[in-house]
Amino acid sequence: MSSSPGIVTWLQRALACAGISLVAASGCPQATPFGSEPERQDLTSKNLAALAALPEKSGPFKIAALGDTHDDYDRFAKAVELINARGDIDLVLHAGDMSDRGLLKELEWTADILARLRMPFFAVIGNHDALSEGKEIYRKMFGPYNFTFTWSGTQFVLFNSNSLEFPGEAPDRDWLTTTLTERNGAERLIVLTHQPPYHPDDLPGGTAEEYYKYLLKTIDIDVFIHGHVEPWSLSMPVGKTPVIALGTFQKVPCYTVITVSPEPGAIRYERCDLERCEEQTLPVIAR
């Protein structure tokens, strides 16, 4: 003779059923962390289109720049909030290292925060971004590793300088030299990359540093912006080109505001932590 399961058994089943269903319904569909298909794609071209739609400025305009934001998404979001709140930033530059290990989820967290900016933004690939499937993720999420655009009389050249992660490919010297030399008729030239022009990470026996010194000495670059290293600095290590080291946001959260003016050499710099901005000075360069 058989009997139905007791109430205790049914209670156990009900509890287990509810627990498992709750867990299952939480929505955790990630099968692998090593994917390379980002939700947001072609951000560089989309932001170029957004920038082209903005009226060009004959007077001063402002750039906000930061880099190495990986692992610090809360404060990165705070910086984005502050940049938006200023109301006077025209475009944002990110010097790379948006992730720590090149995982898709890390780059998506960064892209979600960048997407809150109310102005166009552009990012270069950092060395950490090139790990795992990061190269492919960057290519899909943003676009080409090297690109240039002109706006309000200023040419921006953004390039991949990660020689160790892209042996033989970065920097693309032919492209970079040609692009910087041609200048597209722009009055000013601003360069953004991840590695510093002095002591960059390089292959054994590499000549990247010599190449960057050559560029700084021979090409009239108004500002050379980079990330990767601490501390924040504004200097002229080679020639008369101001070089801004943005610092590493994850260690010391800060962003830099660069005011670009039509007057030759009249570029102003502010270093901003998450509470205040302080003007930083260089001698005005007579041209």
Binding site: T9, C17, A24, G27, Q30, D74, E106
Partner: protein, 217 residues
């Protein structure tokens, strides 16, 4: 879709456990061998300690869309050591992903339901996830001056919690138990991001649901 399927699967697993089979009292048709099974013994290890004790098939849990492997039940199935090969096709991940997950689970508690079902209500564990392929390394390549310039990209730590329901067939068959399991798994990089960025990173960002089947012999 995965969310809906997993909910249905989990609910059905428990709800459809054969009620008539859970007889309170033995009757004439009950197999005599069932009375000889020790209800407290979870794993008989009939094949000896060298032979794996179970095969496992799962989806998710960061191992991949499909993971398959074997494992050992130690200390009467209180500890499970598993090794899974996982694959996620490019259609899902954007690139073909090959990985290996090696995990240890600690499962001290179980609820024996009339000798025919066993519910392990909660277990915890952890292990390693290895990414396979040219884009992953255990030590930084030689061209870097510092051997440990990067944290190895080929290996990540995993942590998981799970629950399992085992169906216990009549003794004498090939299989000793068939288990359906549900796990929530997190990865070292993601868990650290959650701890460090509690506003921007949410819990379901850092978890992967694993649904699996385990056949033990």
């Amino acid at each position: 879709m995965i969310r809906a399927l997993s909910s249905i699967l989990a609910a059905a697993t428990i709800a459809l456990a054969p009620a008539p089979a859970l007889a309170a009292e033995p009757c004439e048709t009950e197999e005599p061998a069932a009375a000889e099974r020790d209800p407290d013994e979870r794993d008989t290890d009939r094949q000896g300690w060298m032979v794996p004790d179970f095969a496992k098939l799962q989806t998710g849990g960061y191992v991949g869309l499909i993971g398959i492997g074997v494992g050992y039940a130690v200390l009467d199935d209180i500890l499970n050591l598993s090794a899974l090969y996982g694959f996620t096709p490019a259609a899902v991940a954007g690139v073909n992903v090959h990985a290996i997950g090696a995990t240890l689970s600690v499962r001290p508690f179980d609820i024996n339901i009339r000798g025919r079902l066993r519910h392990i209500p909660l277990y915890i564990g952890g292990g390693l996830l290895f990414g396979l392929g040219d884009n992953y390394f255990l030590t930084t390549p030689d061209e870097y001056n510092d051997r440990w310039y990067y944290v190895p990209t080929a290996v990540h730590w995993l942590l998981h919690v799970g629950t399992e329901v085992d169906v216990l067939p009549a003794p004498g068959g090939v299989f000793e138990r068939h288990g359906l399991l549900v796990e929530l798994v997190t990865l070292d990089t993601f868990l650290l991001s959650l701890i460090e960025s509690q506003n921007e990173v949410e819990l379901d960002d850092v978890l992967s649901l694993a649904l699996g089947y385990r056949a033990a012999w």
